[in-house]
């Protein structure tokens, strides 16, 4: 499998605090890779670095062998990287459908003048955006269907908001999806559902997925490969079993003494 996303020696420090330190990650096409690690390990910072919210101090980030470093976030998204946010960042006062439609901005063309003139091309594009949004929302079964389309996003339940974030991210037509704690705040039934959903996103949607998750059931259920981080460094990488039993991972989560007594 060809490598889709690659981080080479990426370092990011905030003041004196090095949050990500000489990190190498590579994700192959149609692979699901989980990133785990205790709070403050630098997981979300990696997402912010990949999507261009932060710029790495050193190192390089490559998507299909082309560097993303220095591009503004919307250009990176156009290249094929889409993400969700750990602290949901929906467009709360827009409707559910509009949330998804807005994300089609990057791969549509019609400007202000063409919108005012309603040219045939603009109309076609607009129909295409509607169709895309409906299709992306339909991916979630009846969770986001029907009357919910025209309701403001703030009316959705917490779990549905997480689903809508994923739908919105997929509407940018990404190659790789970065999911930041997709199961946070969900009950066991919903967590199970999201686990299946991530599998379907890969199998049916064809996306490559890099996911941050704390819920080990989810991680176990979805991951082709798991990367464990602590203090911005990779401390383990491999299958879920390999990483879960790794001494340094147990130490990072539980502390040294417990690791020794084990």
């Amino acid at each position: 499998m060809a490598t889709l996303l690659e981080l080479r020696g990426v370092t990011k420090a905030f003041g004196g605090l090095t949050v990500v330190d000489e990190l190498d990650i590579s994700v192959a096409e149609r692979e699901i890779v989980s990133v785990i690690g205790p709070n403050g390990a630098g997981k979300t910072t990696i997402f912010n670095l990949i999507t261009g919210v932060y710029r790495p101090d050193s190192g390089d980030i490559l998507l299909e062998d082309r560097s993303l470093v220095g591009l503004s976030p919307h250009r990176i998204t156009k290249r094929g990287v889409a993400r969700t946010f750990q602290t949901l960042r929906l467009f709360l006062n827009m409707t559910v459908k509009e949330n998804v439609m807005a994300a089609a901005y990057g791969h549509t063309r019609a400007g202000v003048a063409r919108s005012i003139l309603r040219t045939p091309g603009q109309r076609r594009e607009e129909r295409e955006i509607h169709r895309l949004a409906e299709e992306r929302l339909a991916f979630f079964g009846d969770r986001l269907m029907g009357y919910r389309w025209n309701q403001p996003a703030y009316s959705l339940s917490y779990a549905n908001r997480r689903r809508l974030e994923i739908a919105r991210a997929t509407a940018t037509r990404p190659k790789i999806l970065l999911l930041d704690e997709p199961a946070a705040g969900m009950n066991p039934v919903e967590t199970h559902e999201i686990t299946e959903l991530i599998g379907r996103l890969r199998n049916e949607g064809g996306y490559t997925i890099l996911v941050i998750e704390h819920d080990m059931h989810v991680v176990e259920g979805i991951s082709d490969r798991v990367i464990a981080l602590d203090h911005g460094e990779k401390i383990a990488e491999g299958s879920f079993e390999q990483v879960a039993t790794d001494g340094r991972v147990v130490e990072a989560y539980l502390g040294l003494r417990k690791a020794e007594t084990k």
Partner: protein, 485 residues
Amino acid sequence: MSEPNAPPLEGPGIGKDEWVARVEARTQSGLPGEIRRFLLALPPWARIALIAVPAACIPALTNNGYFLQVAIDTSLFVLLALGLNIAVGWAGLLDLGYIAFYGFGAYGYAMLASGHTGLHWQAEVAIPVVVVATALLGFLLGLPSWRLVGDYLAIVTLFFFQIFLTVVNNGQRIQLPFKKLEAGLTRGPNGISDVDPLNFFGWHLNSLREYLWLAVGAFVVVIGALYLVNESRTGRAWRALREDPLAAEVMSMPVNWLKLVAFAAGAGIAGLTGTIFAAEQGSVFPSNFDLALLITLYAMVILGGVGSIYGVVIGAVVINVSLEVLRTPAHASWLFFIGLVLVFPVILKSWRLRGLVVAGVIGFGFAVHGIVGALWSGGVDGSTTGEAWIDRLIDNWVLLPNDPTVIGRWAYVTLIAAVLGLTLLRGLWRAAAIVPVLYLAACVWENVLVLQPSVARYIMLGGMLVALMAARPQGLLGSPRVEIV
């Protein structure tokens, strides 16, 4: 991250979330809700026609220059409000420099078509040039919005507005490098007073009627274009940017570019409005573009409903017409008492209480009038200026002392204290306290404010805004916005 208050999983097809139903019930209630429903049922062209056709018919009904002038001013305010709504309502950028674009458009036209510069450009050339130039200026002023948001952006844009005022006020000392002007760039506070009327391909616009039609035509074009933009990817991107700039950027929207486009589009509309204004007035003065205009404009946008194009139109019409009506004491009196009646539903929730309070205020008034009249005839000897039956009725209801100056001042201060005190009360106590407060308000109105229309109209405007904001924080036609849930 854990979320202790995560709502329980809802099954599909159960129906509306209760919370949504409640929010909807709130937006759909009352007269504004009715208006909103009626408007939403109409197709967009019908909504626009509903506003434009009556406005265009005004010249058929009256030749009164004053009415036509008010209609033109209102149309110009509507255009300005629509332009301001782009940056403020859609893109969520607090732009306090907006009036500078309006002034720039007006002065721009005055430069291109007046005896001041000796240029006499045709309108079909001058208008596009002015609009494009103003839009470019909007682009420039948009640049700080890359780094600044909220209050900081507001201060920088307000500063820009002040620079504009300073430049036009001192323009008699500024000279263009390539062309020597007799009286400097802008003639300073004296203004440019020989601006050409608009001249399209040799057709001169001279009458108020023609300017009104031009303004209404501009309104139809602008609101139509804005409607289409709002329903396009750019409109969605603006709203996304208002909701969450970072998420919008990460969802492939070029936020910085969109901000500039929003500023430029609003500025272009302001420039167009300024052109019509300068040509219609035949002159431009720095005092045409003051802070009061900015505040009035914001009041229009907020009252109508930030982000709703029909809302800001209605806001502009309501406020400008109210301000005009309030100029004349006799009209102002009517508006005040209608206003009082409209305020009731806001303060009191049940019909029985409302009826009781109305009856109470009327009875209380006659009782107080009777008692004061018996004890001290000087306290009720004055009379209102009007001659209609309502004025005679008010004479017998409100205390009108011979010399209201001193008593009036005290009553005014007492009223403000009483209104503040009223906000501390709840339930029946509040209903009971409203009776004397309303009566006091009527007395203050008739004794003090009616005599000073220039002050009273802005106080009334403030009162209207406060009452409306208490009842409908989202404005007349705005949709309620949720910041954090």
